[in-house]
Symmetry: C2
């Protein structure tokens, strides 16, 4: 049965979500912070009580805190094993505090026909529950394999691959670990595609794949340290498209072209495949 196209425009009821300093630490470790002595263990992101260090929160934590229970229920029946992350953008209106809460409203803003699958776009707006002030917004697109071919609009063209006819300004290499997904999933996304070998095989993968948002978090860390001087207040907005799955244990190489306030970036694995493409960071 095809997806219910009438779901476009539907919104979730406002969802309040709070987080603790511990949640932020678990997230930071989940996207690889602290793994390298060379970076001083990134103590401002991985501890709350180190001498002369103030705890700060990785900007990509917005992908966790701003998850507002997307209104997927109205889409109709589909096999969740066929769902993969298509793209993700976040925009921050200031650094995220180590403890806090937001109220999020998500809107299913589009269903596009990509032939081999359907692309479902969800926009979320998160505000301070008391003041109503904007905290962050995000847009996720979810690709549901096998649900295309319904004769619908193909939607906006995907962000072009990072072109750039010159060497990157920065190249950052991070290793993910074989058990990376086991840690990352404790930040909320318990989809067994990322941990259960049996489920992953049923979904057509040799073994569990890493969460797209984990790759996104590693990439965001590289951008933060390379382009924003490790200061979350300078990290404005980030968007990128997931172009290939990452496997736990893969090495991620983030190539960054910075150009006064806007950086383009791309993340490749150790096989030379691009896993995150068309990346754009707005920073100050």
């Amino acid at each position: 049965m095809p997806l219910n196209l009438d779901a476009v425009g539907s919104t979730s009821p406002p969802q309040e979500r709070s987080w603790t300093a511990r949640d932020c630490l678990i997230y930071a470790l989940g996207v690889g912070a602290g793994a390298l002595d060379a970076t001083g263990f990134e103590l401002e992101f991985t501890t709350e009580n180190s001498t002369d260090v103030t705890q700060r929160v990785l900007p990509t934590f917005a992908t966790i805190a701003g998850q507002g229970g997307p209104p997927l229920g109205r889409l109709g029946a589909f096999n969740p094993a066929m769902l993969v992350h298509g793209s993700q953008s976040i925009e921050l209106h200031g650094p995220i505090p180590p403890e806090g809460s937001v109220q999020t409203v998500s809107t299913l803003s589009g269903i596009f026909d990509k032939g081999s699958g359907a692309l479902v776009v969800i926009d979320s707006v998160s505000v301070d529950p008391k003041s109503g002030e904007a905290r962050f917004t995000s847009q996720s697109s979810l690709f549901i394999r096998g649900e295309g071919g319904f004769g619908g609009d193909r939607g906006p063209k995907a962000e072009a691959p990072v072109p750039i006819g010159r060497d990157p300004d920065e190249i950052v290499t991070y290793s993910t670990r074989p058990d990376q997904a086991l840690l990352y999933r404790l930040s909320g996304d318990r989809n067994p595609l990322h941990s259960d070998p049996v489920f992953a095989k049923q979904a057509g993968f040799d073994r569990p794949i890493l969460h797209g948002l984990c790759t996104y978090g590693f990439t965001g860390r590289a951008l933060l340290h390379s382009v924003c001087g490790s200061d979350p207040a300078r990290f404005g907005a980030m968007r990128a498209r997931f172009s290939k799955p990452t496997y736990p244990g893969d090495t991620l190489t983030i190539s960054i072209w910075a150009d006064g306030g806007e950086a383009r970036f791309r993340t490749d694995n150790q096989r030379g495949e691009t896993v995150l493409d068309g990346g754009v960071l707005a920073y100050s």
Copy 2:
């Protein structure tokens, strides 16, 4: 000022502590579960929703769940940076459920004079809050450097080094990671000795040391998998003495001599130093 010897015999008020499935997963990853593909990621300890796998809890989680707020307050003033773990024993009256709670009473049962420091012994009994049934008991001894020499009793002799004139029956080698303590501490012990380089230097260490109970947890995993067929129900009681600090990133080699219901064990680091000694496991 010397420690207050009158504190001996004092008990903490009953403390109730609950834990969630997520807490058990964080603990398991903190003591290295899931790090090795060879062990199938230990999915019963690291996930809650894998196909044909039931979540179980590492027996050494008792050292977390049974922490009843030891009555150290009555000891008088001492420098907490001088405190290291001396020894730890746990006894389980059945497997620990992934979600649960216990009520724990801790007794400060002894203060001994070891010359270079004082050894403070704490006994804790944890019971089911509803039925009052025993769940687990534990004994911790804490060594406070610089607080000895008050002319007190030296206390019972420490467990002898594992003697055994024959090769171990099992040898298990686990690597800890440079950021191991950053993850382990999220199970509760936020002592900056394990994460803050400045604090660690003040305490007389070159760099942060791993939590003794993290080394204990790695060792317990080795025992569980080697001697108990990975079944927590067969894991009865475990005790061992901390003989040297472990540093995050060290490799731990656990040597086990099993003998029908009782195993002796010892944990060495990659420099050939014994870090956990006099180990005894009761199992079925």
